[in-house]
Symmetry: C2
Subunit: 335 residues, 2 copies
Amino acid sequence: MPDHEIFDLGNVVLQSGLTLRHATLAYKTYGTLAPARDNVIVMPTFYGAQHPDTEAMMRPGRALDPARYFIVVPNMFGNGLSSSPSNTPAPFDRAGFPNVTVYDNVVCQHRLVTEHLGIDRLRLVVGYSMGAQQAFQWGALYSDMVRAIAPLCGSARTSPHNYLFLEGVKAALLADAEFADGWYQSPPVRGLRAFARVYAGWVFSQDFFREGEYRKLGLASVEDTARFMEGYFRQRDANDLLAMLWTWQHADIGANPKHQGDFAAALGAIRARAIVMPCVTDLYFRVRDNQLEVAQMPNAELRPIPSIWGHVAAFGGNPADDEFIDAALRELLAE
Amino acid sequence: MPDHEIFDLGNVVLQSGLTLRHATLAYKTYGTLAPARDNVIVMPTFYGAQHPDTEAMMRPGRALDPARYFIVVPNMFGNGLSSSPSNTPAPFDRAGFPNVTVYDNVVCQHRLVTEHLGIDRLRLVVGYSMGAQQAFQWGALYSDMVRAIAPLCGSARTSPHNYLFLEGVKAALLADAEFADGWYQSPPVRGLRAFARVYAGWVFSQDFFREGEYRKLGLASVEDTARFMEGYFRQRDANDLLAMLWTWQHADIGANPKHQGDFAAALGAIRARAIVMPCVTDLYFRVRDNQLEVAQMPNAELRPIPSIWGHVAAFGGNPADDEFIDAALRELLAE
């Protein structure tokens, strides 16, 4: 029995011009909606993740406390729970799945929150990595209803280098002929393993390995860490991973009908208070990119996470980083 | 007609305990040996490179001036010119090629210089990337004959993260079943392309792409840059690339019969004056690793290259970086 609910979106016309029929958004809520409907937090999912992967952010004692807040976690398209290559009928199944943008995701999440849950104000939109990209997009599109955003280890637009790093992980998967242009009958395991191994080099920092920090994750060696990443990604379908990867590569909160490609205008539209938290050692979502973005946002602060955990600093697992992040979230959530 | 010479090493017993019969070292010399035999520079090659790839370091006006110095460029084993998987008879051809260490390389280069060229003093050993690793090894093994070393963008021991990054590029190649465990009849092009694409994300810095610095290399876009790397690596044989990759992953100047695994002792044995030049934005040969090494060397200075060109800062191509490096080389070469 699934631990989540499904919002039937009906026919969704995507930015690509393709109509995804009977599109669905899988979501889970945590906590109780206050009678005044004023305790709502939205937390979109990150790359490869499903809603249970976000629950580390809600552990007892953390700022995102389901005893106080009503936390809505919408699953990103392509993650295997919301509409994805692996669960969509022809002609949009598997390699036929259409390209979905961050904008497409957030417009549908907005429908979930307003039409389906009857909520018109959000205390906070918080997200990690691609979840951060969705948080920026929420702020730019729905500035009237979003009081604060907290993008963690993510940028409002995918940088050229970030795009290229993703080209590498994609190429590793596509090098496996078993992938068969996405029409495989059984998983392209060799390609998925290569994908994960390339990814493992990027997601932690150089210092993380030099200092043996992986031990704090219960991992014994560098190779153990690579296998851990393999385990994470082999849970997912190859086409699903590539669908989310496309979304990531093309993330740009200005590239949509509202902002017509004007990235600066989209950043300027984020009137919500924002604390933007890159990690100083993140190898692909860089402090510098966020710094340039924050400079164009009217009510934003850049607050880098001083950690050697690289991109995973905000994944939930390093107590010092959790405390740093939670302090900022408590500020944003304060009355 | 080849533009280089061959030194026949005879039967070489490698660190692995395997005997590489009729091993050869391909090398090229530039400039003229002074009558006093006191103007000699050795410059080993870097990953994937052959001696012509080092010639950017000798362009007119640069510190490594063939009009003044006698510059010996020995090709690394595995690079397709010295003994390599692609040019060695059975049983050591192709996937049967034995593992070769940095130590194996440098011991054979020492034989070239002493036995074959009759040289017993070196003004400088300079190298870029894996060439830097060989320069460190020269300093540790032959401190009596090496007056100075200049390791550029390279460490005396491959760091855990560097090892993992190489696992990723290797996995991308091996994901191609056409590789056939190294017994391919035609090149595994899909895997080689993936290899190069993964590599492209690592060899430049994030800032390099944000600032569009690739244009200074005559490249028009991020994709153009990925294709440039593809062109570079597709010149090489897949097994050759993997042979050099093994050498790189296991680089450690203490891991040999002389130093018996004592890395600190090997660093301490480098009595030559050293200026160690990592690039501040290099994503795999990190300043911090060199800093820890320099602290254990008796006559060394850490002088990071202040550049956003990442690992390629010392490749030769960015005038500001070339000048920075040449100033240090001139210091080391001064009487």
